[in-house]
């Protein structure tokens, strides 16, 4: 006589039933959560997939998969169109703008959060109002100013312009982050003998890491993608940045989709990497900065 061994899953052991209810629950969860998320993911990722397909398949191929793989388009954008130089320029402008935006926003945000002074609210409103002015409207005044300063055709014009345009939102966000750090902690450090500056570096700054990352990444990505300023303030081939290079692939009568896609991949890599590294800070950072002010 064969011995039948019945094994039960822990849940079944606990409830003593075959547990159809959790399965229904699972189905509900799949319908409500997983399917919409998968659909959204497909909707988001399909353009990226096509970009990669166009970038990696040979010219003239209409295959839905990038096979055989070719790197000719990357060679075209990197060597012929000049992405090697454009990429370097974008990195310089992006990093410098990130640095200046973060540092100035940190100082401005700290002042707005910790000090009460006349005109503080008006200043905050003015910062918000600057967000309504489109960059294109400021082109000619900025051009004239930079011309007077001898900054036309210099990467510094982009660093300055992008930093200035990044600052209002960054300062508002940063003041929210600073407010989230209790002032009592800073006071305790000062009671222990720290100067205000030392207390800031020792106690406040380490707690602002999510905020610094959120503000810095926004500044970097905004600067990295800025086409208008890069085209208008620069009239020297070797000083253009990636977005200008990307637009070179669309001519008056033709478009090199392979090169356009390869350029898109090159342009997207740093942004994707930045998001991959910072995403866990970013969600927390944005919510912390947004709800407290």
């Amino acid at each position: 006589m064969a011995t039948e061994v019945i094994t039960r899953r822990p849940a079944e052991v606990r409830t003593g039933a075959t547990a159809p209810r959790p399965r229904r629950k699972d189905r509900g969860r799949v319908l409500r959560l997983h399917i919409p998320l998968v659909l959204y993911l497909v909707f988001t990722l399909v353009p990226f997939y096509w970009m990669i397909v166009f970038a990696l398949r040979p010219t003239g191929s209409t295959a839905p998969v990038p096979w055989p793989i070719t790197f000719e388009h990357f060679d075209t954008v990197w060597n012929d169109i000049g992405y090697a130089v454009f990429f370097q320029n974008s990195v310089i402008v992006g990093v410098l703008s990130l640095f200046f935006t973060t540092v100035i926003a940190l100082m401005g945000g700290y002042a707005l959060s910790r000090f009460r002074f006349r005109g503080r609210t008006a200043f905050m409103v003015a910062l918000l109002c600057t967000q309504f002015i489109p960059g294109a409207m400021m082109l000619i005044p900025l051009f004239t100013i930079f011309r007077g300063l001898g900054l036309i055709n210099s990467l510094w014009s982009l660093v300055v312009a992008d930093t200035v345009f990044n600052l209002p939102l960054s300062i508002i966000l940063m003041s929210g982050f600073v407010s989230a750090v209790p002032f009592q902690v800073e006071e305790a450090a000062m009671v222990d003998g720290c100067t205000r500056m030392r207390a800031f570096f020792a106690v406040v700054l380490p707690q602002l890491r999510p905020g610094l990352i959120a503000v810095g990444s926004f500044a970097f990505i905004h600067t990295w993608n800025n086409f208008l300023f890069a085209l208008m303030f620069i009239s020297k081939q070797d000083n253009f940045t990636i977005p200008v290079g990307l637009s070179y692939t669309i001519g008056e009568y033709s478009a090199d989709f392979g090169a356009l896609a390869a350029g898109g991949v090159v342009a997207a890599i740093p942004v994707v990497c930045v998001f991959a590294v910072i995403q866990r800070y970013l969600v927390h950072g944005i919510s912390a900065g947004a709800v407290k002010g």
């Binding site: 010219t59 003239g60 209409t62 012929d80 169109i81 320029n89 310089i92 402008v93 990093v95 410098l96 640095f99 082109l139 000619i140 051009f143 004239t144 011309r147 001898g150 900054l151 036309i152 055709n153 210099s154 990467l155 510094w156 660093v159 570096f201 020792a202 700054l205 380490p206 085209l231 208008m232 009239s235 020297k236 081939q237 070797d238 000083n239 200008v244 637009s247 070179y248 692939t249 669309i250 001519g251 008056e252 009568y253 033709s254 478009a255 090199d256 989709f257």
Partner: protein, 437 residues
């Protein structure tokens, strides 16, 4: 303490980057450098695709003129007008710029360009540039002066896949009746369509080229200054084209701009496509030179060949240039027989230099030879669009492109669409006449 160290490290890194950014800093641009060389800046109005062609020409020019250095800047075509406008407003224009008649009036309106008439009278190019292109340029500006030295032009043609036409027993249509019956024969939806409509950006220019070729109307405005766009024959053509939508064309055509339209054609799904000579290289890449050909716009009931002039592309010297002599020398070189022939051979367009038009490479490209013959044929009537109107671009783009989409979708009658466009053009023409009387 560790935080302070991190901040210091970041500061040092930023300083290093700042030094690099400063090293990539501004320089004087044009002018005489420390050496004896004169530097002139040249802005290419279609940077990217044409960059290697200009780099080669600049190399040749600098070899022939060792005292002049040309600094090339490629401007993306989509933003060239905005770039010029900002540069003019900021007083930082190049010495020489690539300019087309589409925005020439805008630049001359800002008094940014140097007239070329005196230079041309003394130049080697005098008498060698195609008269129709010179006329087209002069008609664009209110004072009738030559502000743009023509280098090339284009012609609207219908590209077709030879194999698809011969499989359907169809020959390249010569008349519009032939055309519509060919489109029907070539359509085997949804696998193959006989035609594709440009319904998105840039649709109006192509539609007008088709309408005037069909109607045989020879002027954009009649003697009283009223636009001829809504001529009954033009309305008839637009109605016929709209009737092809979805029946003989892909449904996605309603949003087709030129890259999408060309991509559709090069995917092999569409047998015939209206574009201009400029997309030749795309078709060759996709099919091979022996698999494609082009025919000029068919002839309407009038029997007269009527073509709408494409924008003339050429070079202009800017008023702000500090090195006008070197700048004109460069322009002179660019429109010389050798340079003009090389440039147009590479881009597949029509040379402005008559001597270059006689070069043997044109014989190897029948579609281009045909185009040159069509342009040179005394029986061809060229309808010049009013590029000089400051509102022309807005009227034929932002104002009426969405209306044509409505026509394709059956939400607007072709008559109403063309009446709207005609009213706007008539008003703009009257305003222009008033300000220049």
């Amino acid at each position: 303490m560790r935080t302070i160290k991190k901040v210091c490290t970041a500061a040092v890194a930023v300083l290093a980057l700042s030094a690099t950014a400063t090293a990539c800093g501004s320089d004087s641009g044009s002018g005489s450098g420390g050496s004896d060389k004169t530097t002139i800046t040249f802005w290419d109005n279609n940077g990217g695709v044409r960059t290697p062609i200009y780099q080669e020409l600049i190399k040749r020019f600098e070899k022939a003129n060792p005292t002049i250095h040309v600094e090339y800047v490629g401007i993306p075509i989509a933003s060239v007008q905005q770039k010029y406008d900002t540069a003019v407003a900021g007083g930082e224009t190049p010495d020489v710029g690539g300019v087309t008649t589409s925005y020439l009036a805008n630049l001359t309106g800002q008094q940014a360009l140097e007239p070329a008439d005196d230079w041309l009278a003394k130049s080697q190019a005098n008498g060698k540039l195609l008269d129709s292109m010179l006329t087209s340029v002069k008609e664009t500006t209110p004072d009738g002066k030559l502000y743009l030295v023509p280098a090339t032009s284009n012609l609207d043609v219908v590209w077709y896949q030879k194999e698809k036409l011969s499989a359907a027993g169809v020959e390249a249509p010569k008349t519009w009746d032939d055309f519509f019956s060919s489109v029907d024969k070539l359509t085997k939806a949804p696998d193959q369509y006989g035609w594709t409509i440009r319904g998105g950006a840039g649709s109006i220019f192509q539609l007008l080229a088709e309408a005037y070729a069909y109607s045989g109307v020879t002027e954009f405005f009649d003697s009283s200054g009223k636009s001829t766009v809504n001529d009954p024959k033009n309305v008839e053509l637009v109605t016929k084209i709209a009737a092809l939508y979805k029946k003989n064309t892909p449904e996605a055509d309603v949003t087709n701009d030129f890259p999408k339209m060309v991509a559709q054609f090069t995917s092999g799904k569409v047998a015939m496509m209206h574009h201009n000579l400029g997309s030749y290289n795309d078709h060759v890449k996709a099919f091979g030179a022996d698999k494609i050909d082009a025919y000029p716009m068919p002839v309407g009931e009038s029997g007269k060949r009527t073509i709408v002039a494409n924008p003339v592309d050429g070079f202009a010297v800017f008023k702000n240039s500090k090195n006008k002599e070197a700048a004109w020398k460069f322009v002179d070189f660019l429109v010389s027989k050798e340079s003009n022939s090389y440039w147009n051979q590479q881009t597949g367009q029509i040379p402005a230099n008559k001597e270059a038009q006689a070069d043997s490479w044109l014989d190897e490209r029948p579609y281009l030879k045909n185009a040159v013959e069509v342009l040179g044929d005394p029986g061809t009537t060229v309808v010049s669009p009013p590029y000089y109107l400051p509102q022309f671009s807005a009227i034929t783009k932002a104002d009426t492109e969405p209306l044509f989409q409505k026509v394709l979708l059956g939400q607007m009658k072709p008559q109403e669409f063309l009446d709207t466009m005609a009213t706007k053009l008539t008003e703009a023409q009257a305003e222009w006449k008033k300000s220049h009387s």
